[in-house]
């Protein structure tokens, strides 16, 4: 009986709410609630929702030298992997700017292949993408003079400014996986273009899927590749 009353109350509330707000906003509220619930459940089961990506803190944690004053929280420090120490393109620096990097040649295009993502995802899910990253990691380990830029791109549906930040998430995720595979983190740089440089300019699901991607540019210090 109690359950019946409660269910009725929820239905009445939903109807009332539905009359006073738009369906889109209601759907957004529902999605946010589901994400929060999912986050909370993962937090209860594991220590952090990111634990699926990282096996131990020691395995990934690298110091960010002494470039900034960090927050002291454990969760902030444990699950980050800092960028390469060298900033490309600095006068007198060891690594030139991105203009000296180039798209992979035909011979290397099967290794440094573009990776596409599902909506709102930054972790590659399909087997082909995971296999491509394995292949890439093996190649980079074999060629320590090879440096790579991972470009993070988004589709046009989120706002411009937010996408600039969001683009870092995809490129950093791929970088993280490559480092986990044993690639020297100093070989890998990331760059976020947000939605600034679409691969295709259509305004439909097919175009958006093509634009949610990471692409690669490489530079061989020995000039062989």
């Amino acid at each position: 009986m109690k359950h019946y009353k409660l269910a009725s109350l929820i239905v009445i509330s939903l109807i009332t709410t539905g009359c006073t707000t738009t369906l889109a906003n209601l759907w957004e509220s529902a999605k946010t609630s589901m994400r929060q619930a999912s986050y909370a459940s993962k937090t209860l089961i594991s220590k952090d929702p990111n634990s699926r990506l990282i096996s131990t803190a020691d395995e990934f944690f690298t110091t960010v030298e002494d470039e900034f004053i960090p927050l002291s929280d454990q969760d902030v420090q444990s699950y980050t992997i800092s960028q390469a120490k060298e900033v490309p393109g600095l006068p007198g620096g060891a690594i030139p700017g991105i203009n000296s990097f180039h798209s992979p040649s035909k011979a290397l295009s099967s290794i440094f292949t573009k990776i596409y993502f599902n909506t709102d995802q930054h972790v590659p899910k399909d087997k082909e993408a995971v296999a491509a990253i394995h292949k890439m990691a093996a190649f980079l380990k074999k060629h320590p003079s090879l440096y790579v830029f991972i470009e993070g791109h988004c589709d046009e549906r989120a706002s411009e400014a937010y996408n600039l930040s969001l683009g870092t998430k995809r490129s950093n995720c791929i970088r993280k996986i490559l480092v986990k595979e044993g690639v020297n983190p100093e070989q890998i740089f990331t760059v976020s273009y947000g939605r600034e440089r679409p691969e295709v300019t259509g305004h439909n699901e097919k175009s958006w899927a093509r634009n949610r991607r990471v692409a690669f540019k490489i530079y061989d210090k020995e000039g062989k590749l």
């Binding site: 470039e67 927050l71 800092s82 411009e160 600039l164 930040s165 970088r175």
Partner: protein, 445 residues
């Protein structure tokens, strides 16, 4: 338990009513202003000066510029001040202010007469070249001073707008994407490229120069090295220099009004966190930047300072959809714990690009409304929000003018263009046209 749940659901239903906000503009009481034509008014230049002042004063929406009238013209330019500034005459003509510009050789003289208080104010004369494109900015400054007397708040006619202008160069196989920083006047005139990085430059921010307003500096993000980095340059230099020696992607810089802090987004640690770099206008970056906010699996974006620099509005997707949060913007000491940001509003969803008004009372932002990004403002004191724009086409990146009444924003569909919006006028004014992507506009503070 049941009653509290019921209250929660009812309050949820009531709260959601606030989502639908009727469009309305602030109520105004306008004043009648007579702007006398410039005597003798025979040259095109004199007419252009007159039209510039008239447009600048009309733009505020606070006053009504009366039509040219022979009687008023007779009084305004009468050689005897007792006749010219006879309050009874002007009151009978229902005129609150009389503005009398005159050109004497190469100097523009302006008198402003308040018919209510019988007060006459004479502005310092300005030297003109008689080349309207060169003199335009000086004339805008005169208009702003007139606004200060007439409307009790300085105008924004002399304030410039910076923005990014992206062009795709089809024949450039290496990198077809080029974007530079441009400036324009508040009305869209005098569009001019001010960087020549031959790279990809976006998201400019003003660093005003109070002593030499013409030679302001600015921050922007350039991809010339590969990862986006914050550069600093000034108006008369075409290339800038890096500001912050920090690895990784540096994005979306914002400068506090006191010019003592730069907030930005950096993934130096591996995820898009909110950072603050202590700054000095003459010395540049001071010491190390500090990590202000980080959250697992989330990205932060678009910081905007409260005018006193004590707080920041920023975007985070820590709970799923991007929303706007407020956080304290101080405490650079070691061993800090992550501060807890406060959610600005639960009523709007997918909200981005906040901009704190110079009076500190409002935050403008872009929020998806029935599938289209519209500009909204959140009233800090009342805790209410209001939708400002309507109609098709996504609108993003609002930036307030100094008067906290006007703002610029850009559309991202169907075209990327910049618009000027006033709280007093529901019809935005388009400032840019033509091909190319014009976006990330920012008003001179």
């Amino acid at each position: 338990m049941r009653s509290s749940l019921f209250c929660l659901l009812i309050s949820s239903a009531l709260f959601s009513q606030e989502v639908v906000v009727p469009l309305q503009t602030d109520e105004l009481t306008t004043v009648n202003i007579y702007l006398a034509t410039i005597r003798p008014g025979e040259t095109t230049y004199e007419q252009e000066v007159y039209e510039t002042i008239k447009t600048d004063l009309s733009f505020s929406g606070k006053g009504t510029i009366l039509d040219i009238n022979e009687t008023m013209q007779f009084y305004a330019h009468h050689p005897d001040p007792k006749v010219a500034f006879q309050t009874a005459n002007w009151r009978s003509l229902q005129t609150k202010f009389v503005i009398i510009p005159t050109l004497e050789k190469s100097e523009l003289h302006v008198k402003v007469f308040d018919t209510n208080t019988a007060t006459l104010k004479t502005l310092s004369p300005i030297l003109l070249t008689h080349n309207i494109s060169k003199d335009l900015h000086k004339i805008h400054r005169i208009s702003d001073l007139i606004s200060k007397i007439v409307f009790n708040s300085e105008g924004i006619a002399s304030k410039r707008i910076l923005y990014s202008f992206q062009k795709k160069i089809e024949n450039n196989e290496n990198d077809p994407w080029q974007s530079e920083i441009w400036e324009m006047d508040y009305d869209g005139k005098n569009q001019k490229q001010i960087t020549q990085e031959e790279s990809y430059c976006i998201t400019p921010t003003f660093i005003p120069n109070p002593n030499h307003p013409e030679n302001y500096s600015f921050l922007y993000v350039t991809y010339k090295q590969g990862p986006p980095r914050i550069y600093i340059s000034s108006r008369n230099r075409l290339k800038g220099v890096p500001l912050i020696p920090l690895r990784g992607n540096q994005l979306l810089p914002a400068l506090s009004l006191k010019q003592d802090k730069v907030a930005f987004i950096s993934d130096a640690s591996g995820r898009a966190d909110l950072f603050i770099q202590p700054y000095h206008p003459e010395k540049g970056a001071i010491g190390k930047p500090f990590q202000l906010y980080s959250f697992p699996s989330s990205v932060q974006a678009s910081p905007s300072f409260h005018p006193d620099g004590s707080k920041l509005a920023f975007v985070s997707d820590k709970n799923g959809t991007p929303k706007i949060y407020i956080i304290d913007a101080h405490d650079s000491f070691q061993n800090r714990k992550t501060p807890e940001p406060k959610l600005l509003s639960k009523a709007t969803h997918d909200s981005t690009s906040p901009s704190w008004s110079p009076d500190g009372k409002k935050i403008a932002f872009s929020s998806k409304t029935n599938g289209i990004r519209q500009i909204w403002i959140y009233d800090i004191e009342k805790g209410e929000e209001k939708q400002l724009t309507t109609g098709p086409g996504d609108k993003e990146n609002p930036s307030w003018a100094k008067d906290s009444i006007h703002m610029v924003y850009n559309t991202t569909s169907p075209t990327h263009d910049i618009f000027l919006l006033s709280l007093n006028n529901p019809h935005p004014k388009r400032l840019t046209e033509g091909s190319g992507i014009k976006h990330y506009p920012v008003f001179e503070p």
